[in-house]
């Protein structure tokens, strides 16, 4: 593939020898070091003892299961690796979810980590499971599950602060409904039962298209021996109730009988290899050459406090093929940079923030999104947005109308959206730039990302003004000293809550990436989204003009 976009490479405005670049880079590396250590924690799962106990029973740790099912030397893109950060749960939350290649086929893989609470369904497992289902459905990818779970986490929730009980059993089970939907959508579900899959969990193999059971390990039944004894008085044991041999030979729930775990992984690969998987999306149509600038330089572009300005073109120049970028409407609404490029040979449209969204910028964004939908080109959003511009002039210029136009275009766009939050992601700007809630296919964060309703300073400041107003109305003296303390505290709490790690710990994105991996991650996602046809929108909601 030698064809490229005709646009020339972007110039670079990065002073790599500047003090600020060096500082940004050092700060970024510090943050990456923290993340790396957290990833080590995630890898350790339930810890050495639990891993050793698994090994002694001939079981492989969950990450070895995954490594062995993948085609050698192919990538694995883990989703929400740091789920559960800053919670009472083990980092990762007891389940590994990711996208990997099995027998040349991109698959969603989700695997219980039995070293963590026996693979119990922690809140993080539920959220990641939900996300795995969503990825499989949105991108139409085979769904491969490695099941070994103690079942529901029956421990009492001990949340802090005010208690709001909005979870009820009556609403549970949605996962099973969605699995059934996947199968109807011709998305094959392949399930390897490595251990317990009981009660509700038994429906995981029950609702999968292919089941692989492992000799002497799989245990699949609606009720175990104690419950059976309670219910009917029948004496039974694990093997006769739900062993691999029983299911392979008598019940027929097990389609493939594996001698051991490696054999199960072999069978899993064989099953995927017969799925006859074809991707309807177009293959790369352009040359996928590397950017002409060093991707290492992405480390020094963003300051940790997000205060020094960033030209998003410098990010684009280090991510896209040959650094080529054809900018659209350069001189109009310049706080939103729009244009065409390619990654790994896949054509894309890019929207990147170069400041707060003005009415013209929002209008331009809405137009650009429609252009990309017209020609079936996926969109990449590079978020560094503090929101839509406020103030009399902008309200009068229709910032709400223009902003809504952009939200309409984003919401009704049907080409795949990939979002990378490189800096701030505040308020409605998050929505306009296709944040998680606006139907993108993937959301990735740089370590410098901050996601919140508004900046910590603004929140603290607004709250201070409210207090001042209350004091004035009540006619009491305003305690400046106390206010300063509250402002500082609020700022700190808000700051902490807006950090990338807090967001990713809550599974509100797909994970934090090393900025140097931006091109690779987007390249993988652009390939993944091609498991569906790339088709632009035929119509939109009514634009408020």
């Amino acid at each position: 593939m030698d064809r490229t976009l005709l646009a020339p490479p972007l110039p670079s405005s990065v002073a790599t020898s500047s003090e600020s670049f060096a500082k940004n880079r050092a700060d970024m590396l510090d943050q990456l070091q923290v993340i790396d250590e957290l990833l080590d924690e995630a890898e350790a799962g339930g810890g050495e003892k639990a891993m050793a106990r698994m090994r002694s029973r001939g079981k492989l740790p969950v990450r070895e299961r995954i490594a062995n099912v993948l085609d050698p030397d192919t990538p694995f893109l883990e989703i929400s690796a740091l789920a559960g950060y800053d919670s009472d749960y083990t980092i990762g939350g007891g389940m590994v979810v990711g996208i990997g290649i099995i027998a040349g086929t991109e698959c969603v893989i989700l695997a219980n980590d039995p070293s963590v609470l026996g693979g119990a369904l922690t809140p993080y497992v539920l959220k990641k499971w939900n996300r795995a289902l969503e990825i499989a459905r949105d991108n139409h990818m085979p769904y491969v599950s490695f099941v070994e779970s103690a079942g529901a986490d029956l421990r009492v929730e001990t949340g802090g602060g005010r208690k709001a009980n909005t979870n009820h059993f009556a609403e549970s089970g949605r996962f099973f409904y969605e699995m059934i939907e996947l199968s109807k959508m011709d998305i094959p579900l392949v399930c390897v039962v490595f251990g317990s899959s009981t009660a509700g969990g038994a429906y995981q193999p029950g609702l999968s298209d292919y089941n692989i059971v492992v000799k002497d390990q799989s245990k699949i039944f609606l009720a175990g021996p104690p419950l059976v004894k309670m219910a009917t008085g029948e004496e039974s044991d694990d093997e006769t109730l739900g062993g691999a041999k029983m299911h392979a030979e008598i019940s027929g729930l097990g389609d493939y009988f594996a001698e051991d775990e490696m054999d199960a992984l072999r069978l899993c690969r064989e099953v995927v290899s017969h799925l006859n998987w074809r991707k309807p999306g177009p293959e790369p149509s352009l040359l996928g050459d590397d950017p002409i600038y060093d991707q290492e330089e992405l480390l020094g572009l963003v300051s940790q406090d997000l205060r020094s300005p960033l030209d998003v073109r410098d990010v684009i120049a280090r991510v896209v093929d040959g650094s080529r970028f054809e900018e659209f409407k350069t001189r109009y609404g310049p706080t939103l940079v729009c244009g065409w490029a390619s990654i790994h040979g896949y054509p894309i449209g890019i929207l990147g923030n170069n400041g707060v969204l003005h009415p013209e910028a929002a209008e331009k964004g809405a137009q650009f999104i429609q252009l990309c939908n017209q020609i079936d080109v996926p969109l990449v959003f590079l978020q560094n947005i503090t929101g839509f511009m406020v103030g009399k002039d902008f309200e009068q210029a229709g910032i709400i109308k223009k902003g809504s136009q952009m939200l309409n275009a984003v919401s009704n766009s049907t080409v795949p959206h990939l979002t990378v939050i490189i800096g701030s992601s505040y308020g409605a700007g998050t929505y306009g730039m296709s944040g998680r809630a606006f139907g993108n296919r993937f959301t990735w964060l740089w370590p410098t990302a901050k996601v919140a309703v508004m900046g910590p300073k603004q929140i603290a400041g607004v709250m201070s003004m409210v207090r001042r107003g209350q004091a004035a109305r009540k006619g009491i003296e305003f305690d400046e000293e106390e206010d300063a303390q509250i402002v500082a505290m609020v700022e700190e709490v808000q700051e902490k809550g807006s950090l990338a790690l807090a967001a990713t710990g809550a599974v509100s994105d797909d994970g934090i990436i090393d900025p140097r991996d931006t091109r690779t991650v987007l390249g993988i996602c652009l390939s993944v989204v091609r498991n569906t046809p790339i088709e632009g929108a035929d119509g939109y909601g009514v634009f408020r003009l």
Partner: protein
């Protein structure tokens, strides 16, 4: 017939009644002379290079010894001349006569000369008559109990019609003589159809020196110096050189003159070789004062010799060209005085055989065969990548010839060329040859015929080289897979955004050393684990020194370049360009085996890539011996079966006798036991590793 009456009979097509490297060798010259080249071949050779390269080829239904069929082939193709090569019918006077009777030109000496020289007793008489020194010999007919007391032992029992060491026995004392004569006689009968043997003085410390002669039908005769072919195993040459490190100009002249005297008495035409035994003890110490070097006539080979290229190298002549021109009746266009010897040439014969196992012939597929570009050597080979080497023919794969200004340089070049040869798929003597050429005793010129027993060169591969090769192989394989990726081809190898175990490749060192080291039967596979770093280098662990690979120290590997045949890799600071090949086979049991051939500084190592997954019940490890089964140690045919089912046998008892390369090989019981099944019968061809007998 006087010489002047010889007519020139030019011809422009030649059939080579031979196969393999010598057929290609003759074709090369004949083609350069503008001739049409005709090959004959048997079914086993149907895909061989020499058949493809010929202008025409004719199938022989019954083999290369079927003279009538070969003459028929010449008629069919219109070939005007027949070149016999060496071996097969090259020294068969009756065949030469039949060729001539059919109106074809015979490329070689006259049938009468072939007949006379082919009979060692007659040849020895001719040599005596021409004044050549010969070894005392005794007619076996006249040997009785008493007369044996007159014999000076040790002696050598030789077949009258022999050659190539077949039917030869060294006898140290009188009481062994009868048995040696009997067995040599049997072997001679089998090999040559002539059971006559004779007994000759045996010189224990000797060199094999031969003089190349060349004559035409006009009476012109020259010698082309000597070749020393003392390095032999099983009485067959494996390294030959010219000049000999011990032959002085005076001795060369003396031996050359002796050879010419005999040739002249025979009116010899075409190429020939007069073989002498040079007594090592006559070269050293007091013997020189006693009259100098002592040499004895052995025999005359009335054909082109395997080792002719060393003479070609130092004389600049093309001996096949000379043969063809002489056969056409032309005169030699030079005389003795115009022959110069330039530099030193050494030839090594590459055999499919196992030096660590008594040089037993091996067989198999030549998975890889690629000489390095440097040093520039002459490769006369019959095989190519993919060739099958069977049990039907001599297991010589080819010859490598180095020519340098000095002996030391020629030896170094040749050793290097052998070491750099990318070769694998079957056991060969490559490493043994290289070790020989590098041995101080060889370099010192101490090359008597007992060299191999005396010196026993041992090839060695350093454990560090094995580790380097394993890492290079594993990372080359990684590059192979990444290059073949259809999904996400632009994503870096094994990219992760989180932590997963390293990639793993398990490699079982199988063979390639030719020294029995690492035959894979009692070894653990070596595990190489690696992970690509962000900068493109790889972090590598291996289990070579420590079986707990997860605790092994991390090495840093940098792939500077990768291609489908090669990897330029730096491992902890040491950078090498490494030739790598990968082959995959599916066995008859349906299991797939995948092999990596990795070049080290001294040889090619073969690693079996252990599959990540094992299909339960499938026999993937073909190298494992069947439990309780006795397997064939070599390819060959079953000569004798000495046990029946239910027989109780003791360790060491001969259970059956195999024949390979016309040698008998007893197969003993490895342990005490009861035979449950005999799986072969007399006359059956067996491959290496076939189960012959099963025990209870």
């Amino acid at each position: 017939m006087t010489h002047a009456q010889v007519m020139t009979t030019p011809f422009d097509s030649v059939l080579v009644a031979n196969r393999g490297e010598i057929a290609r060798r003759v074709f090369a010259t004949a083609r350069s002379m503008g001739m049409v080249c005709v090959a004959v071949f048997t079914d086993a050779d149907a895909d061989a290079a020499f058949v493809r390269e010929a202008d025409e080829a004719i199938r022989l239904a019954t083999g290369y010894l079927d003279g009538d069929a070969i003459i028929g082939a010449a008629k069919l193709s219109g070939a005007q001349a027949v070149h016999p090569g060496y071996g097969f019918l090259s020294e068969n006077a009756n065949f030469a006569r039949s060729v001539q009777a059919a109106g074809l030109i015979w490329v070689g000496p006259t049938p009468d000369i072939i007949a006379t020289m082919g009979d060692k007793i007659l040849a020895k008489e001719a040599a005596l008559a021409a004044g050549l020194p010969v070894l005392d010999s005794y007619d076996t007919e006249s040997l009785t109990g008493e007369s044996t007391e007159l014999i000076r032992f040790p002696v050598l029992v030789k077949a009258a019609a022999g050659g190539g060491g077949k039917g030869m026995r060294v006898v140290q004392s009188a009481d062994q003589l009868d048995e040696a004569i009997a067995s040599a006689s049997r072997e001679a009968d089998k090999a040559f159809g002539d059971s006559r043997v004779f007994v000759e003085r045996y010189v224990p410390r000797a060199r094999h020196i031969e003089i190349q002669i060349l004559g035409d039908a006009h009476g012109n005769l020259v010698h082309l110096g000597e070749r020393e072919c003392s390095i032999q195993r099983r009485h067959q040459k494996i390294i030959e050189e010219s000049p000999s490190p011990v032959v002085s100009p005076e001795l060369r002249q003396a031996m050359g003159n002796a050879a010419l005297a005999l040739a002249s008495s025979l009116s010899y035409s075409s190429t020939g070789t007069v073989e002498f035994l040079l007594d090592e003890d006559s070269l050293t110490g007091d013997s020189i004062t006693e009259g100098g070097a002592e040499f004895f006539f052995l025999e005359v080979n009335t054909r082109l010799q395997v080792e002719h290229p060393v003479t070609e190298a130092i004389t600049g002549l093309d001996l096949v060209r000379e043969q063809l021109q002489v056969a056409a009746g032309q005169q030699l266009n030079f005389d003795q005085s115009s022959i110069d010897f330039l530099g030193h040439a050494i030839e090594a014969r590459l055999y499919a055989e196992d030096p660590a196992n008594g040089f037993l012939p091996s067989a198999g597929t030549v998975d890889v065969f690629e000489p390095a570009e440097t040093p520039a050597l002459r490769w006369d080979v019959g095989i190519e990548q993919g060739s099958e080497v069977g049990v039907h023919f001599d297991p010589m794969l080819g010859k490598v010839i180095a020519h340098g200004p000095t002996r030391a340089e020629a030896a170094a070049q040749l050793a290097r060329g052998l070491e750099r040869l990318h070769l694998g798929g079957l056991t060969t003597n490559r490493d043994f040859l290289a070790a020989t050429l590098r041995h101080p005793q060889f370099l010192a010129g101490a090359t008597t015929t007992d060299f191999i027993e005396r010196v026993n060169p041992t090839p060695l591969v350093s454990p560090d080289d094995v580790v380097f090769a394993a890492v290079a192989g594993a990372l080359w394989m990684q590059g192979r897979r990444v290059a073949d990726l259809e999904v996400l081809p632009r994503v870096p190898s094994g990219w992760r955004n989180s932590k997963l175990p390293m990639e793993r490749t398990s490699l079982l060192l199988e063979d390639g050393l030719g020294d029995g080291l690492g035959d894979g039967r009692d070894q653990e596979p070596m595990e190489v684990r690696y992970r690509r770093n962000r900068d493109g280098s790889f972090s590598v662990r291996n289990s070579a020194n420590d079986n707990t690979v997860s605790n092994a120290a991390i090495s840093n590997a940098i792939i500077h370049a990768w291609s489908a045949e090669w990897i330029d890799i730096e491992l902890d600071g040491l950078r090498r360009g490494v030739r790598v090949s990968h082959t995959a086979r599916v066995s008859h049991t349906g299991s797939a085996a995948s092999f990596l051939y990795v070049q080290t500084p001294s040889t090619t190592l073969r690693f079996r890539i252990e599959p990540r997954f094992v299909v339960p019940g499938a026999d993937t490890d073909t190298s494992t011996l069947q439990d309780g089964g006795l397997v064939s140690p070599m390819p060959g045919s079953v000569l004798e079966v000495r046990v029946n089912p239910d027989d109780e046998v003791v360790a060491g008892q001969v259970l059956l006798v195999l024949e390979a390369m016309k040698m008998e090989h007893p197969v003993p019981a490895p342990r005490d036991g009861t035979v449950s099944q005999v799986l072969v019968e007399v006359g059956q061809q067996v491959e290496l590793g076939l189960v012959l007998v099963e025990f209870e």
